[in-house]
């Protein structure tokens, strides 16, 4: 899932300082699961904002809505009738959802309430770890299911580097060395051959905005896959 964390309260408060009527829009998918931007977080944030603005003697009227997915037009539609009545929208969706919302209401100032952080996994309640940088050309098959792009601090394709330190990465004793793990796992699976070969230079595909159109959905209207 996409993991986000709420922005510092003062930053959010500062975004909204010139507005008197704001709609806080949560998203019910990834950011709700990672406890950053779902229904509950919307109501907590609104309560804090309400209190702070009252203390400042600048009361604010706050609306709240959480839709299933802000990255999907089908669900965004539910906001159409509401947004009109507000001066600005504060979205707690991931960066993609926020942009889709802003694109739909180009006249309306839209602000991010979270910092979108990574694609990751749920280690425990409230504890998430990054696992993928969406490089568009997955090498997990070669690397025993451990992502060198994300988990190696240098994103090396022919690791480990000379800094690997008794199983830890050179950046910290608490950070496992991805290439140490890759070696260990491949070695146990008798697949070391995979990394004895030199992995050639990457053709980076994440250097411009990407579009995916699944086979079977290509039409003359949607442009060719970039």
């Amino acid at each position: 899932m996409i993991v986000a964390k709420r922005k510092p309260f003062d930053e959010i408060k500062d975004f909204l300082k010139d507005y008197k009527k704001v709609l806080t829009a949560g998203c019910g998918t990834c950011v709700a699961v990672c406890l950053a931007g779902g229904e509950k977080e919307v109501s907590v944030l609104n309560a804090e904002l309400d209190m702070a603005r009252r203390l400042d003697n600048k009361p604010i009227e706050l609306g709240a809505i959480t839709i299933e997915r802000q990255c999907d037009r089908e669900y965004l539609e539910a906001l159409d009738s509401m947004v009109e009545g507000y001066d600005a929208v504060l979205s707690l969706a991931c960066g993609a959802g926020i942009q889709f919302l802003a694109e739909r209401y180009p006249e309306k100032p839209v602000f991010p309430g979270v910092d979108t952080t990574f694609i990751g996994v749920n280690q425990d309640v409230g504890w998430y770890e990054e696992r993928c940088r969406s490089c568009s050309s997955c090498v997990l098959g070669m690397t025993a299911g451990i992502c060198p792009v994300t988990m190696c601090a240098k994103g090396l394709y022919n690791g480990p580097c000379g800094g690997t330190n008794k199983g830890s990465c050179e950046i910290s004793k608490d950070q496992p060395c991805a290439w140490y793990m890759i070696y260990e796992r491949l070695s146990k699976q008798n697949r070391l051959d995979n990394i004895l070969k030199i992995t050639p230079v990457q053709d980076w595909q994440n250097q411009k905005p990407r579009t995916v159109i699944q086979p079977g959905y290509k039409t003359s209207e949607n442009s060719a896959e970039k």
């Binding site: 601090a153 240098k154 994103g155 090396l156 394709y157 022919n158 690791g159 480990p160 580097c161 000379g162 800094g163 690997t164 330190n165 008794k166 199983g167 830890s168 050179e170 950046i171 140490y180 070696y183 260990e184 070695s187 070391l192 004895l196 030199i198 992995t199 050639p200 230079v201 990457q202 980076w204």
Partner: protein, 307 residues
């Protein structure tokens, strides 16, 4: 000859090579480079010029390399993958070669979090093994990484680093083989303190036939003090300093640690001269350039061959 560099000539003539190291200044102080170079002149075959070592900004390695050439020394231009993408790397390689730089050491580079701009965005467009391959392609095929032809290939003697001490140990010689397959002509190792482990590493490299394909220079850094020995042991990733060695430096007594450190380094160099597969020594006397002449003399590697 691949590059006609002095280092290549010394090694291919079968001499035991002796290389030094110089860290560029944190400013425009060219005089500083000249001063350090003067201690190395005549005592080493080539001098590694570090590239923003430990991710701290310094005068660029090619620029300091040029100062060395002006002073009549041969630089070994270090390039890390952290700060440049493939375009910048290739153009720097061309420029370096056009100015007479003939050796290059291809490295990953320490992570930026160690340095003076810890929040910088790193590049790592390509990694050190891919960099070795790229320089080789430019030199031997006369083409850029893209495959397009270039006008006058850069004649570089291509170096790589090796760390014989990082776990998993079984991987060390295999990784060295990978660097050689990519195109490394010579290898300089991480500073060696654990001689037993290094002997094992060399044996493996010899058995695998790697020393026939590539010159291995053993890395030596004299310990200046007990504090430095402890720091190397505890805080430098990938470094292996046995306790006995720390004890030995400690045992030398007050004010004598540096002399003991030099004595250890000299003993090491003498053993490397006899060790099968070792083609030379790379002496990294960090901020200790002025001690290089006496170390070279004591180790019996002077005079340097003129080839």
């Amino acid at each position: 000859m691949k590059s006609e560099s002095n280092l290549e000539k010394v090694l291919s003539a079968g001499h035991f090579a002796f290389t030094g190291e110089l860290g560029p200044p944190r400013g425009t102080n060219a005089e500083e480079v000249r001063k350090k170079a003067a201690f190395l002149k005549g005592n080493v075959d080539a001098v590694n010029i570090t590239d923003n070592q430990t991710a701290v900004v310094r005068m660029s390695s090619w620029a300091a390399s040029l100062i060395l050439i002006q002073e009549g020394l041969e630089p070994n231009f270090q390039m890390v993958c952290r700060d440049r993408n493939r375009l910048a790397m290739q153009s720097d390689i061309l420029g370096a070669s056009a100015h007479g730089i003939k050796n290059m050491l291809c490295l990953s580079g320490d992570h930026q979090s160690f340095g003076d701009h810890p929040m910088a965005k790193s590049v790592f467009d390509i990694d050190s093994i891919q960099l070795i391959g790229m320089v080789k392609q430019m030199r031997d095929e006369g083409t850029f990484l893209s495959g397009n032809k270039l006008d006058e290939p850069p004649k570089m003697f291509i170096g790589a680093a090796a760390n014989p001490f990082a776990e998993p140990y079984e991987w060390r010689a295999l990784r060295l083989a990978k660097k050689i397959a990519a195109g490394a002509d010579f290898v300089q190792t991480q500073c060696i303190y654990n001689m037993d482990r290094f002997r094992e590493f060399m044996k493996r490299a010899v058995d695998m036939g790697l020393t026939e394909k590539c010159y291995i220079l053993a890395g030596v850094t004299p310990l200046k003090s007990v504090g430095m020995a402890k720091y190397m042991a505890g805080s430098v990733p990938g470094m292996d300093v046995p306790d006995e060695l720390i004890e030995r430096v400690k045992g030398a007594g007050k004010g004598k640690a540096a002399e003991e450190g030099i004595k250890i380094a000299v003993e090491q160099i003498q053993e490397f001269k006899e060790m099968e597969g070792v083609a030379g020594v790379h002496l990294m006397a960090i901020e200790w350039e002025h001690r290089v002449p006496e170390i070279a003399k004591m180790a019996g590697v002077l005079p340097r061959p003129v080839v």
